[in-house]
Amino acid sequence: MSRIAIALLLASGLAGPLKAETVAYVGATVHPVSGDAIEDGILLVRDGRIEDIGADVEIPDDARTEDLSGLHLYPGLIHAGTVLGLTEISSVPGTQDTTEMGQVNAAIRAEVAVNHDSMLFAPNVAGGLLTAHVVPQGGLIRGTSAAISLSGWNWEEMTLAAPVGMHVAFPRSAAENEDDDDLSLIDEVLDQARSWSRAMTAWRDGNASRPRNNDQYAALEPVLEGEVPVFLHTQGERDMNAALDWANRQGFERIVLVGGPDLQHLADRLALEDIPAILNSVYTMPPRAWEPYDEAYVAASNLAEAGVRFAITDGGSAFNAGNARHITFQAGMAAAFGLDSETALKTVTLWPAEIIGMGEELGSLETGKRATFFAATGDALEVTTQIQRAWIDGEEYDLSRDRQRQLYERYRERPRR
């Protein structure tokens, strides 16, 4: 079986079960994200997938009807880079599986350590975050990430796609030094992986004996073949440019550039070379003392203007994982500083879906996509909006699982002294 077939099998085999039912969601203002909002729209869901969407959808006889009048329907939020599922309480080391030791961990797979009963999941679902790209941290070659649904009975059910990408941290010092030790190490590992891959091919063709097994090289093989994209994690503008030059030299065809507000200084290059990006946080200080106060706020707008496809995240640290749901507010801040609000919504729904290879499945409300969406009292980017219900693959999520709400309800009922 070819590696491509294996990868596809993984993707489909791990996809969670879809609920067998037909439901018509009526009365809400439906925001497909891929198109204009539909007032009093109808969303028809069959067996966990969107069958139809519009103002005049014919509702079949066997459909159950859910009245969502007064609410707004949005596709589930997608976090493009988080350690959700790999962390519980960041100050308690025993609850941390975010960061492996060592510099080269290509064979690490994030999905296998996702704790499906993490207490962090339900509050995030209650905030409309229904899909996450879980990314391992630490070292230079960090391993592969996974797209997970925030609901499931184990990590296999939660995993929508894996591997989504190989994560490489471009060494901070390499932009100024072509003999940088860390970059040399990455180059060396990649060269060895190529050699190993040639040896494996020779064996597969019956021309050589089987090379010794090596998990690291085996994990890098689909990356070198272009089947798995490289997510390049970078710091400042010079690193970003150097990282892209390096990736070109390496011959990587599918790259996602991950970084802070300096991404905006590469906007034209990213657009020209058609490289998508993950903007690590709008809520961050300007990287340099002399920069305008809104340097980080306007980054998204500058990227969008140049035509770059990008996702907005909160940086994805363990500290942020509990509130990964609040990426909408970061997108909203970008909107206050020049990004139009429809594009801002895309940066936390459709664009992250596309960047993590789930564009056909998630990120917008379109026929054929997964019925993964939430109902809110208003504009999804507004802080004052309340999220009332959420569905993942057509199944309504029981928000009473949210321990924060449980505590709220319990103490609201405390008899007054």
Binding site: S317, F319, V383, T385, Y411
Partner: protein
């Protein structure tokens, strides 16, 4: 909510050249802005954070830094600076009840379990760029606090964000003294490896040591009282002790206690200790489980200054819920929202908006949590925190509804001076960049100097999560 375009009206032009004058990205060469005799803000939606509530189409008249009148169709005195704020919203300047934003390092003197004698006023950093950036987010006052490494920390200071002023001139001089206490994981040193272990290592140890310190302070006060008049004539005076003097000032009500804490049990313990020594806790900070003992906090008379939604980053934050502010408010606790972080402090309006999202709090009540309530907790309600006649003209003109994610401060006024003006900021960027390039060229010319592109922006110990030790302690453990 529809995103509003910034009104084309350039306020800098409207205010005349005096106010639009040189204003720099560095404090040391930014003169304190002129204080006009009269400023009239017209036709705004005014959020008073006071009993008057939210007033539509309302004017605010400022006279030499003081709010003179709030009403409809006010007459502009001759020579007034007039601002057309139609379509925009005005709120009091925002107040951050818990900040470490402009302090010259050393936020934590963590050597002893009690360091009541150290004072934050000694390390105010008037040149911190955080002052300008926070002001651009509508903040006008901050409570600069000692760290949380000790049960009884140092004395704090309350400063206005007077960009360009000397440290001493930033400090609100008629504010009461405040002191930082801390409970839980930080003072008991659970989450980092200190060089030397220090008593206590448990919550009951923290409670015990605070109780003992106040017993010592009462003994100290008695000794000094006894050493007066005739009795003192032929006796060696008791030794002066700065720590004890601070604690005696707490007992006498001259210094108010603001205590960091997370768990319900420890709030109860501190309140009972204080009551036993006949004083009251002014406010619990962070107070993430405040909702569990809200009635007890209200009964004691303490305020609560919480994070809007931080949770789960340390074990004692496991039961932190974003409904906390609303729940405590419902039980009659006066609640404020604090930042504990100079970046977060740039959007406190959105932090209070979370109480609307999570607790159905009324929007005006929510805004009070970062204006009037914070001012009252800090004992500066007689000066600022509300839009009311007679108070300082500390206010923000917002482009839109102040709790909207699409809103942005257009101007921030402190003492009737326009310290931040977005139009002016935008206009001056080119000049700043030209000057920077000029300076870089000069440096390169003179010494073939290093490119300084990677200089760190922040002089306020922005925590680097890769770095072990106290910086991680401050960021990851949540709340110094």
């Amino acid at each position: 909510m529809k995103k509003m375009k910034l009104l084309v009206l350039t306020l800098a032009v409207a205010m005349g050249p005096g106010l639009a004058g040189a204003h720099d990205i560095e404090a040391w060469n930014s003169p304190v802005p002129e204080q006009p005799d009269h400023v009239l803000i017209r036709n705004a939606t005014v959020w008073t954070a006071d009993e008057a509530g939210i007033l539509e189409n309302t004017d605010i008249l400022i006279r030499r830094g003081e709010i003179r009148r709030i009403g409809e169709d006010l007459r502009a005195p001759r020579g007034s600076v007039e601002i057309d704020a139609e379509g925009r919203h005005v709120t009091p300047g925002l107040i951050d009840a818990h900040s470490h934003a402009a302090m010259l390092g050393g936020v934590n003197e963590m050597s002893l379990i009690s360091t009541a004698m150290v004072e934050a006023r000694d390390i105010v950093d008037a040149d911190s760029i955080n002052i300008y950036r926070q002001m651009a987010g509508g903040l006008t006052t901050m409570h600069l606090m000692h760290g949380s490494a000790n049960a009884i920390g140092g004395q704090n200071v309350i400063a206005k964000l007077r960009w360009g002023a000397d440290p001493a001139d930033m400090i609100i001089d008629d504010a009461p003294g405040t002191i930082k206490f801390a409970l839980g994981e930080n003072p008991k040193q659970s989450n980092w490896q200190p060089d030397t272990l220090r008593y206590p290592q448990t919550r009951h140890g923290v409670a015990q040591v605070i109780d003992e310190k106040f017993q010592m302070a009462r003994d100290y006060a008695e000794q000094h009282e006894a050493h007066t008049g005739r009795a003192a004539r032929n006796r060696v005076p008791p030794r002066r002790d700065l720590e004890m003097e601070a604690l005696v000032a707490i007992l006498e009500g001259d210094i108010e206690v603001h205590s960091h804490g997370y768990r319900a049990d420890e709030f109860l313990a501190l309140m009972r200790t204080a009551e036993a020594h006949d004083f009251r806790i002014k406010a619990f900070h962070h107070v993430l489980e405040g909702y569990k003992v809200a009635d007890e906090i209200a009964e004691h008379g303490a305020g609560a200054s919480t994070f809007s939604d931080w949770w789960g980053f340390k074990y004692e934050a496991r039961d932190a819920i974003p409904y906390n502010a609303a729940l405590m408010h419902d039980r009659g606790v006066q609640v404020s929202i604090n930042s504990d972080n100079p970046e977060l402090a740039r959007r406190m309006n959105l932090e209070v908006a979370k109480a609307v999202r999570y607790g159905n709090m009324d929007e005006h009540e929510a805004l009070k949590m970062v204006t009037a309530n914070a001012a009252d907790q800090l004992g500066i309600g007689h000066r600022t925190g509300r839009l009311r006649e007679g108070l300082d003209a500390d206010l923000v003109i917002w482009s839109d509804h102040p709790l909207s994610v699409y809103s942005r401060p257009d101007q921030t006024w402190i003492d009737g001076r326009a310290y931040f003006d977005r139009e002016r900021d935008l206009q001056q960027r080119e000049a700043w960049e030209a000057e920077r390039q000029e300076l870089i060229a000069l440096v390169r010319e003179s010494e073939n100097g290093e490119d300084d592109d990677e200089e760190q922006a922040d002089d306020d110990e922005v925590p680097d999560e890769d770095e072990p030790g106290m910086q991680v302690f401050r960021q990851i453990m949540g709340g110094a």
